[in-house]
Symmetry: C2
Subunit: 250 residues, 2 copies
Amino acid sequence: MRQIKLVLAYDGTDFYGWQVQPDAVTIQGTLASAIGRISGENVLPQGAGRTDAGVHAFAQVATFATGCPMAVENWVKALNEILPDTVRVMAASVVANDFHPRKSALGKTYRYRIYRDPICPPFLARYVWHYPYPLDEQAMVQAAGLVVGDHDFTSFAAVDPERNVENGARSNVRSIRDSQWSREGVELVYAVTGSGFLHHMVRNLVGTFVLVGKGTLSPADITAILNARNRSKAGATAPAGGLYLVGVEY
Amino acid sequence: MRQIKLVLAYDGTDFYGWQVQPDAVTIQGTLASAIGRISGENVLPQGAGRTDAGVHAFAQVATFATGCPMAVENWVKALNEILPDTVRVMAASVVANDFHPRKSALGKTYRYRIYRDPICPPFLARYVWHYPYPLDEQAMVQAAGLVVGDHDFTSFAAVDPERNVENGARSNVRSIRDSQWSREGVELVYAVTGSGFLHHMVRNLVGTFVLVGKGTLSPADITAILNARNRSKAGATAPAGGLYLVGVEY
């Protein structure tokens, strides 16, 4: 048996998130059945991040153990022939048996895309949050900087204790290395890199930064919200379609 | 009553084409019901081109007559609030009552996108034809040039006589002004402008040019196929998802 690591890109729109569920089409379940069709083995691939329904990935990392003797590079083509075209295996490699895509990760990067023009092209409807209303983007840049460092992100975590147990730690402290809003043409893009993320954390940060952009909150309120450790103090969860898991570092 | 002209962009993936049909979701039907919700009138908007199921548009033109006194520019916002986000009204203006989006058109331009890299990003799956196999692109460029001018396009028309009656003419002669393949990064893009197009004509041209690219046909065979006036001489219909109606000239 050896362990294979896959890098996956997917359009999350038509999936009920990463994690396998009874009676719902998920990325993990779809991948498991494609692997099974190739190797005849019954595996449940493990992922680096449990993306929610509608959330996309440029580079999700997943692993599975297999006794299949096929050359590792052939897994890319073989899986892509079976998987729906909204899920693509971008790369495959053999990794040590003790490698775990989530537990071994040193950091993850997410991006969130907000489309600012009055009319959102139909071809982007699945891929951005269309928000054409006024926003003080400089205030949002300021606010984003305030979450860099080690903080207890309880205020930005879904009230869902079971899912907040990452890396075996029950703490809601996470370490954010980089947190920035920038303009990319008509899009306003949030990029955040950190040690790990709580359930809904990026979307809750985005929803709260948008309240800063609207002037409902001031940038400094972000620090007060962090200190409150209370989900009800932060903004609403931003729509799933704008969010992308763009990379995992090891 | 005045006539309003709309410019529409849509992602055709989830629609059963432009033309209204019983028991199928179409662009024309969806637009008709959105107009009806605003004006209370029962209208059937007319379009410049009857795009097929899965075909997209950057700038379809549609018209409808209305007695609704609303300022014309407000139709854009009002319709976009009702329409699904895969159909967008980009512009609205008042036109003369004798303007007809198809009959008044001087020309139409379509584009067809072929994605050439081995792995097609999941975010483009709905929007391109993924064709990663070898193609002699120079031969395709040559072949495309041979359809410029006035030709009987029977060999490239769906065997569907009812739909080939455009502008009241029963002839299958169409005038092509421009027909070119060009590289846009990892995409190979066909752009064609002409007086009008028969049913499936652009997709049949693309399917035939790809046979030239594969070496199954030589560029000069295109002229022989035109002369044969026989659908069975040309290549298969290229997939709908790669095709876009990009503009209509008046």
